[in-house]
C-alpha cells in the first residue's frame, strides 16, 4: 500500500514525471541505435563493422547522452558478431578514445538499456530472417573479390551484401594495387567504380530475368 502510494506520488510530481519522460526518450533512442546496429550487422556482416570503423573512429566526436557510447556499441556488436559467427575485424583500440564519464542520469539509462539490448537485437535478427534477407556468403564474396582483383566487375546477379563485402576485402589489397602500378587512392576509386558497376549489372540481370519470367507465365 505504501509502495503504491509512493509510486503514485512520484507520478504526480511534475519534476519526477518530466524526468521519467526524458529518460524514457533517451532509453528508446539508445535502443534504436542498438537495433540499427543489429540490422546493419545482419545485412552487411563484416562490411558493416569495417564501415563503422571507417566512418566513426577517426576523429569521431564525443556524443551526448542521447546516443550510446561508441565503446558500448562496439562491445555489443562484438558479442553479436560472435553469436552469429562473423569474423571480428575492428581495431578496438581506437574505440576507447572518447569515453564519456557517467553521471547519475547516464548510469540509470545504461542500466535500463542493458536489460533490453539482447531482446532488441534478437528482434532485429528475427525480422530479417523472416523476410529472408540475404546474408553474405564467404564463397561468393571470394569469387567476386577475384573478379575485382582482375579489374572486372561481378558478371552476374549478385546480392548487395556480397558485393560490398568483396569491395571491402579488396580495397585494402596493396599487393594488387601495386601490381597494376596504382596508388591506393586510385585503386580504391577503381574498386568503387567496379562495385557500383556490379550493382548496375545485377539490376540489368534482375530486370531482364523478370521480363523473361513474366513472358513465360503468359
Amino acid at each position: 500500500m505504501n509502495a503504491q502510494l509512493s509510486k503514485r506520488g512520484m507520478q504526480d510530481d511534475v519534476q519526477v514525471s518530466e524526468l521519467i519522460t526524458d529518460l524514457t526518450k533517451v532509453v528508446l533512442g539508445h535502443l534504436e541505435e542498438y537495433f540499427c546496429d543489429a540490422v546493419g550487422l545482419r545485412l552487411f556482416s563484416e562490411a558493416y563493422l569495417l564501415s563503422l570503423c571507417y566512418l566513426c573512429l577517426p576523429g569521431f566526436p564525443p556524443q551526448g547522452i542521447a546516443y550510446p557510447q561508441l565503446r558500448d556499441r562496439i562491445e555489443r556488436l562484438r558479442t553479436l558478431a560472435t553469436t552469429i559467427g562473423l569474423q571480428w575485424c575492428v581495431d578496438q583500440s581506437q574505440c576507447y578514445r572518447y569515453v564519456r564519464s557517467l553521471d547519475a542520469k547516464s548510469s540509470v539509462v545504461a542500466q535500463v538499456v542493458d536489460t533490453f539490448i539482447p531482446s532488441v537485437q534478437q528482434t532485429a535478427l528475427d525480422i530479417l530472417d523472416e523476410r529472408n534477407a540475404p546474408q553474405r556468403d564467404v564463397a561468393r564474396v571470394e569469387r567476386i573479390a577475384r573478379q575485382f582483383r582482375s579489374l572486372v566487375p561481378a558478371a552476374g546477379k549478385e546480392h548487395l551484401t556480397d558485393l560490398i563485402n568483396a569491395a571491402w576485402l579488396v580495397s585494402h589489397d596493396q599487393d594488387t594495387a601495386h601490381s597494376y602500378g596504382l596508388e591506393m587512392s586510385r585503386w580504391r576509386e577503381v574498386v568503387n567504380q567496379m562495385t557500383l558497376k556490379s550493382c548496375e549489372v545485377s539490376e540489368y540481370h534482375e530486370r531482364v530475368d523478370q521480363y523473361v519470367d513474366a513472358k513465360d507465365h503468359r
Binding site: 582482375s150 579489374l151 572486372v152 566487375p153 561481378a154 558478371a155 597494376y180 602500378g181 596504382l182 586510385r186 576509386e189 577503381v190 567504380q193 567496379m194 557500383l196 558497376k197 548496375e200 549489372v201 539490376e203 540489368y204 540481370h205 530486370r207
Partner: protein, 216 residues
C-alpha cells in the same frame, strides 16, 4: 579481325579463369558462335553527360587560358558539364544538333594482345545517330567505353539505357607488347569520362605573333 567464333572462345577462356577478353554483362557465347557478323553488340549504359551553354564564346583546343573572352573567365570544363543518371526504362532524347556523352552498359577488359574499334549500329546511324568515328580501344583497356553521341538528323532520336547502340570489332596485335597500361586516366570508369584538353605547346607558339627575331 576476330571472328565471332574466336571472340566466343576468348570470352569462354576468361570465364574459366584465364586472363583474357572479358565483357560484363557477358554476351551469350552460343549466339556469338552462330552469328554471321564479326562484331559484338554493346548496349547503352545509364550515365550521360551533357554540356551547358555558358558565357564563354568557345573552347580552345590548344590554349591553356582557353575561354578568356571580353574579360569573362569561362568556367572550367567540369563546371560546364552535367552528369545525369537515367534508370532503365527512362528515355533520353537527343535533339537534332545535340551532342552528349554516353557510356556502354558493358564493362570491358581487353588483354594485351587485343585492340578494338567501336561504331554505331547501322540501323541507328541511318536515323542520324552518330558516334565519334573510328573510336579505338587500346590493348589492356578496362572500364566502360565513353560514347560521343550526336544527332545529325532532322528529328529528335529517343534512346534509353539498355538499347543495343554500338558494335565492337576486335583486332589481334601482330606482336604482343609485354607491358600495357591497364588503368590510364580514361580507364576504370563506369561513367562517361571527359578528359581535359592538353595544352598543345607547339600550337600555342604558332599562335603568337612573330617577333621578327630569328634564331641562328
Amino acid at each position: 579481325m576476330l571472328t565471332p567464333k574466336i571472340i566466343a572462345e576468348r570470352l569462354q577462356r576468361s570465364s574459366e579463369g584465364h586472363v583474357d577478353l572479358q565483357i560484363v554483362p557477358t554476351p551469350h557465347t552460343d549466339s556469338l558462335r552462330s552469328s554471321h557478323t564479326a562484331s559484338v553488340d554493346l548496349r547503352l549504359g545509364c550515365w550521360f553527360t551533357t554540356f551547358r551553354s555558358t558565357q564563354s564564346s568557345h573552347f580552345s583546343t590548344f590554349r591553356r587560358d582557353s575561354g578568356v573572352t571580353s574579360g569573362v573567365i569561362a568556367p572550367t570544363a567540369a563546371q560546364q558539364e552535367k552528369s545525369h543518371y537515367l534508370p532503365f526504362g527512362s528515355p533520353f532524347i537527343l535533339h537534332p544538333g545535340q551532342f552528349a556523352l554516353g557510356v556502354t552498359l558493358e564493362w570491358l577488359r581487353l588483354p594485351s594482345d587485343l585492340s578494338a574499334s567501336v561504331s554505331v549500329r547501322s540501323s541507328l546511324s541511318r536515323l542520324g545517330l552518330m558516334l565519334a568515328t573510328a573510336t579505338g580501344v587500346h590493348p589492356g583497356f578496362t572500364g566502360c567505353l565513353t560514347l560521343e553521341l550526336s544527332n545529325i538528323g532532322t528529328l529528335p532520336i529517343e534512346i534509353a539505357p539498355g538499347v543495343a547502340i554500338c558494335q565492337l570489332f576486335f583486332h589481334q596485335l601482330e606482336i604482343q607488347e609485354k607491358t600495357v597500361s591497364l588503368l590510364g586516366s580514361l580507364a576504370g570508369n563506369r561513367r562517361p569520362v571527359l578528359r581535359q584538353v592538353v595544352a598543345d605547346e607547339i600550337a600555342q607558339k604558332l599562335s603568337q605573333p612573330p617577333t621578327g627575331k630569328r634564331n641562328s
